[in-house]
């Protein structure tokens, strides 16, 4: 599942915005990927990413339930995925990127 996420998600940055969003990520063998997506494709990728993270969270809930100790009680699970990069503009180095993080909390 993690490999799947690495292959599909990772970060969105924009060129001059023209309805397309550049998706950055890595392939299963660690090669850098870059792909321009339209808004519909971006929506599908985001949905897929959230589904993948939810799957990992589900695994963690069951794993942590088995490993519960007297001292700690799991109250939330946080899963994140993202990428960052640096670009040179004028005298500065700018790191720009968008990352994603999901929280799963105990609920009624």
């Amino acid at each position: 599942m993690k490999i799947l996420i690495l292959a599909v998600l990772i970060c969105t940055v924009n060129q001059a915005y023209a309805g397309e969003i550049t998706y950055l990520g890595v392939s299963e063998n660690g090669q850098e990927l870059s792909q321009s997506l339209n808004e519909k494709e971006f929506e599908q990728h985001l949905d897929l990413t959230l589904s993948a993270l939810e799957s990992i969270a589900e695994q963690q809930v069951s794993t942590q339930a088995e490993a519960t100790s007297n001292k700690f009680r799991l109250s939330q699970i946080v899963l994140g995925l993202g990428a960052s990069g640096e670009i040179g503009i004028g005298p500065f180095k700018l790191g720009a990127g968008i990352r994603h993080r999901t929280y799963y909390k105990r609920s009624l």
Binding site: V13, V78, L94, K105
Partner: protein, 389 residues
């Protein structure tokens, strides 16, 4: 000690294309460096609006289901900009970031019980037990092998965190109340280790202590250097905060962090890099922006440069403290607020089940190599958490 969050962050470096960023992110005001050629503000707003709209659509379209008693309650996305040389010191790097927090306002979260809000136990036995549990969680990730030094050094970190909490508990900061303490541990295989900076694959552990009434009165005296630094940071924050229009948002909490990262050594892990950052978490005493005047603007509190005490964690006795110019620090704070306002204005229009309820800005300073050791850096940070009124 309550919750341990084990975020399995797999951050993978990529090369970002040229991005259109708001002018306020890259301009430092009159007389300083600026990027006057950066004019794509409208494109940035259009892009941001599009991304947020898609995020809302995807979140609204997701089925709500329970994962063994847990529910997907929050989605956070962040944007960051980092610059070297920003503060006039080539080795001092500033990173600013904004987090947008989407919350499902209909999800009913089980509140934390008061009994869960414990302070760290003083006893050596409890610290040792906590260190053992932390070591087990670190080793379980598969990123770090167990070693005798690992546990003893984790114990040392916990002891120092406890000392810092004790010291600040006896310090009165006008306008602010210390509410909690947070300790972030990051172990990275390569790259920098810090909340928003670029990293390689890393393991992160976060420990939160909520402040409760102590069972016994601790006689420790406040540490003037640590306390003085916090006073100055909060003074600057109050000055900047009161001059801002935060639209439909207000300050929920301010987190002041001081830490150190170093390659190898600290935890007896030769090939990894460790970051340790302790955050003091303050809430405003008043809910309005009318914080009390802390001092006149000619006092030492208002004008003295900030001194970072660098020898708290390191074993190197020859370390020198570093100083950060107040004027440049305030400029960074103002930039952080400008970023928060920019995103808050984009987020206010979402009023459905998923809403952007919080905007958090982060300004962190990292100075590398100031000890003559390229692998060591010291960090200071201020996080501002804004919440909808």
């Amino acid at each position: 000690m309550k919750s341990i969050i084990l975020p399995l962050l797999l951050i993978v470096s990529g090369l970002a294309s040229a991005a259109s960023l708001p002018q306020s992110w890259v301009s430092e005001g009159e007389g300083r460096k600026s990027l006057s050629s950066f004019k794509e503000l409208n494109e940035t707003q259009e892009y941001l609006s599009s991304v947020l709209s898609i995020q809302e659509k995807v979140l609204l379209g997701r089925e709500e289901k329970s994962l063994g008693g847990f529910k997907f309650s929050t989605y956070v996305t962040d944007f960051s900009v980092s610059k070297s040389g920003l503060f006039g010191l080539s080795a001092l790097k500033a990173t600013t970031a904004v987090e947008l927090k989407w919350k499902n306002v209909q999800t009913q979260i089980i509140p934390e019980a008061v009994a869960d809000m414990e302070v760290l136990d003083d006893s050596a036995e409890t610290l040792a037990a906590t260190a053992s549990e932390l070591e087990a969680k670190i080793v379980a990730t598969g990123k770090v092998a167990s070693s005798p030094a690992l546990k003893s050094n984790i114990e040392s970190v916990l002891n120092k965190a406890k000392l810092m909490m004790d010291q600040m508990e006896h310090r009165d900061v006008p306008g602010w109340k210390l509410a909690a303490f947070r300790l972030d541990l990051s172990i990275g295989a390569n790259g920098q280790v810090w909340t928003f900076a670029k990293t390689g694959a890393s393991v992160r552990l976060r420990l939160d202590w909520k402040k409760i009434k102590r069972k016994q009165n601790n006689k420790l005296m406040a540490n003037n250097k640590t306390g003085g630094l916090v006073d100055k940071i909060l003074y600057d924050f109050s000055q900047v905060y009161q001059s801002q229009d935060l639209l439909g948002f207000k300050v929920k909490m301010v987190n002041v962090g001081v830490g150190l990262s170093r390659k190898g050594g600290l935890l007896g892990l030769a090939s990894t890099k460790l970051g340790i950052v302790g955050f003091l978490r303050f809430v405003p005493v008043t809910t309005t922006q009318s914080l009390p005047a802390l001092a006149d603007n000619t006092s030492a509190l208002a004008t003295e440069d900030m001194e970072y005490v660098a020898d708290e964690i390191s074993e190197n006795k020859s370390m020198n403290n570093i100083f950060v110019p107040r004027k440049k620090w305030r400029a960074g704070l103002e930039k952080g607020f400008a970023m928060a306002k920019y995103f808050a204005s984009s987020a206010e229009r979402f009023q459905n089940r998923w809403q952007v309820t919080e905007v958090k800005t982060v300004l962190e300073l990292t100075k590398s190599g100031f000890l003559g050791l390229a692998s060591t850096s010291v960090t200071g940070a201020i996080e501002t958490e804004l919440v909808r009124k």
